[in-house]
């Protein structure tokens, strides 16, 4: 009886004690959730497993959602190849364009504002963090190192 409530703490394997416990609970609890929710559906007159409902919202904005994911991947991929400042200016502008929607795509003023926002916001962050606070930002081919002043513009 006493041994049932005892766990051997062995140095070489103790990193697996807690994960094992958690995984076991997750599996058991997961089954309980499946069964109780399934039973609830049966009670409500539906099948134990129902066809999953619509995943995306009705008429979801495919361009914005997938465009956002693609742009993010491209942005992160290029960040430490191009360098923070130049890469971010390009991508903040691209995100602004993506989010514009078809109605404003031809509006020149919208895009002018996008350019201003991307250049100003990125320069503020880049100078404030990278140059003034000396925090490392992703560097790439467009990173400028001014040796005489000891300044790096990432």
């Amino acid at each position: 009886m006493g041994d049932l409530f005892r766990i051997d703490v062995v140095y070489s394997t103790q990193h697996w004690i807690f994960p094992t416990i958690i995984i076991s609970i997750l599996v058991i609890l997961g089954l309980v959730i499946l069964v109780t929710e399934g039973m609830g559906r049966v009670k409500a007159g539906k099948g134990f497993f129902t066809k999953p409902g619509r995943f995306f919202a009705e008429n979801y904005d495919k361009v914005k959602l997938w465009g956002c994911v693609v742009l993010m991947v491209a942005y992160f991929f290029l960040l430490d190849k191009i360098g923070f400042t130049v890469c971010s200016i390009i991508f903040v502008f691209l995100f602004n364009t993506l989010f514009a929607g078809p109605a404003r795509m031809k509006d020149v003023r919208y895009h002018v504002v996008s350019v201003i926002i991307s250049v100003v916001s990125v320069l503020i962050i880049s100078i404030l963090f990278g140059t003034v606070f000396d925090i490392t930002l992703p560097d790439g081919v467009c990173t400028i190192w001014i040796q005489s002043l000891g300044i790096t513009i990432f």
């Binding site: 766990i7 958690i22 109780t36 992160f76 903040v92 992703p138």
Partner: protein
């Protein structure tokens, strides 16, 4: 009582409050996001300076939510849900300026009352916590996880499950005692020595996931220029609006504060409870919801009461009271300050600074919001499509700088953004996952320490009287959750039937 104060600190606090209010006032952006996005800025600050900025963002972020709640009936932050009930009807009657000013004043009182509770309560709780052994520390975290699950309305099991998944994800690292890796793919061992970093996980779950969701629905503006243009002045605000509301202010603020002390309870729960209490104690409950100051005061003083409350468990036990204070833990870690039972004894100056900073931030919040009320109403017009690109850029900087420049952490932003988005789609409470992730490593360490101390016997968890108290609390909360779970399920069912 030494503490840090000076014009530079006040300037930083003002900056924090203003930015916080803007974040809070824009639907879809929250106080948590404000604090998280500006966290990297504090890398270069001293601890005190960082506190002024972050607390300013916190107070401002929670308060800003009342603006869109009143003007367009969309809560800017989840904690101002109940503000819409009475605030918006007032605005429709042309009393929006009065409503905004009542809301701001109520928020201010709520903040002050919770500050008093914070100052009195934290040392007492820390005094108890000092006597905790690994067993009690383990149980306290278990308690925290139970409370969050208990409060995920109608889906307790899912709450617990996703919380434990968070714990599991937190353990994907090199275990500190025997330096062995677990659950880490071979190729990622160089990056995942310390597991996933808090900042990218948090920002991913909250900001990136929110961005994906906004993209999905097309990022449409939820309001037009008219909403803020016609700010009405039919009835002027007078401080006598608060006459007869003193008890309401105190009750609601204290409800907010104590809900904040319970780990993981969001502001929406606090303001809902305060609102329903105000309704049941009111002399004319039928008027609540039609646009009376009483309901507005209850909602706003309770959600600002949360700010002080959520800091109590953070500073005395090292457990965050809500998602915003979870980010604050990150700030303390970055500065090398250990929060927990010994925090006040070891860092009296930082502790005093927190109290002073919180007071100053509340005063600033009041000044910034009360007088330029008309300007404030324009904040809701800042379009999301302009903000999200900049927020993404700032988040990448923050993630990259978390561990001195690694792209791995930036990619985690995307990873956890997708995770957060999926969790929401599958109706799992995201905050449970986050709290599990934050507390997971401590939970494991204390568990291993406890069973090592008791030579592997699990009975060790039941032998100390102090542990019994925590066990009792856990049982009470589970029982409450089961009852409440049944009730809200029944409510959902009747609502569904009525709908049919």
């Amino acid at each position: 009582m030494p503490f840090a104060i000076g014009p530079e600190y006040i300037a930083v606090a003002l900056l924090g409050v203003v930015i916080g209010i803007i974040f809070g006032a824009i639907p879809g952006m929250t106080a948590t996001m404000a604090v998280a996005v500006f966290l990297p800025l504090t890398y270069a600050y001293s601890m005190e300076m960082a506190l002024y900025l972050l607390l300013g963002l916190y107070v401002g972020g929670i308060s800003g939510g009342l603006v869109p709640a009143i003007l367009i009936s969309i809560p800017g932050t989840p904690s101002s849900v109940c503000t819409t009930f009475d605030g918006h009807p007032m605005a429709l009657r042309g009393e929006s300026e009065r409503a905004l000013k009542i809301g701001v004043t109520a928020s201010f009182f709520g903040g002050l009352i919770s500050l008093a509770v914070l100052a009195l309560f934290t040392p007492i709780l820390a005094g108890w916590a000092i006597k905790f052994s690994a067993v009690e520390k383990f149980l306290i975290i278990l308690f925290a996880l139970t409370v969050i699950a208990a409060l995920s309305k109608g889906q307790m099991l899912r709450g617990i499950w996703i919380g434990l998944l968070g714990v599991l994800i937190a353990m994907m690292n090199q275990f500190s005692v025997n330096n062995a890796y677990r659950m880490v793919p071979d190729g990622l061992k160089t990056y995942m020595q310390g597991g996933f970093q808090l900042f990218p996980v948090l920002i991913g779950l909250f900001a990136m996931a929110e961005m994906f969701e906004q993209c999905e629905t097309g990022m449409h503006a939820k309001y037009s220029k008219d909403d803020s243009a016609g700010i009405g002045e039919n009835v002027k605000f007078r401080f006598s609006d608060f006459k007869g509301q003193v008890i309401n202010v105190f009750r609601s603020s204290l409800i907010g504060t104590f809900m904040g002390i319970l780990p993981g309870v969001g502001g929406s729960a606090a303001s809902l409870i305060a609102y329903s209490q105000a309704k049941s104690w009111s002399k004319h409950p039928e008027l609540l919801g039609t646009g009376v100051p009483e309901g507005l005061i209850a909602s706003e003083s309770s959600n600002n009461g949360l700010t002080g409350g959520a800091l109590v468990p953070l500073l005395s036990l090292g457990i965050p009271g809500d998602s915003t204070t979870a980010v604050l833990i990150g700030a303390f870690m970055l500065q090398g300050v250990q929060v927990g039972p010994l925090f006040i004894t070891n860092n009296p100056e930082v502790w005093n600074t927190i109290l002073v900073a919180l007071l100053i931030c509340n005063v600033l919040m009041f000044l910034v919001m009360f007088f330029p009320v008309k300007l404030l109403a324009k904040v809701i017009l800042i379009p999301q499509e302009r903000l999200y690109p900049v927020v993404l850029m700032m988040c990448s900087v923050g993630a990259y700088a978390t561990l001195n420049g690694r792209m791995f952490d930036v990619w985690c932003l995307l990873l956890f953004g997708v995770v957060g988005y999926l969790l929401k789609k599958l109706h799992f409470p995201v905050s449970c996952f986050l709290i599990g992730f934050i507390l997971g490593r401590d939970l494991e360490n204390y568990f291993i320490q406890a069973i090592t101390a008791y030579n592997g016997h699990l009975t060790g968890f039941f032998v100390r009287p102090m542990g019994w108290v925590i066990w009792a609390l856990i049982i009470i909360f589970v029982a409450y959750a089961i009852l409440d779970n049944r009730k809200s399920k029944k409510r959902n069912r009747t609502a569904a039937m009525k709908g049919e």
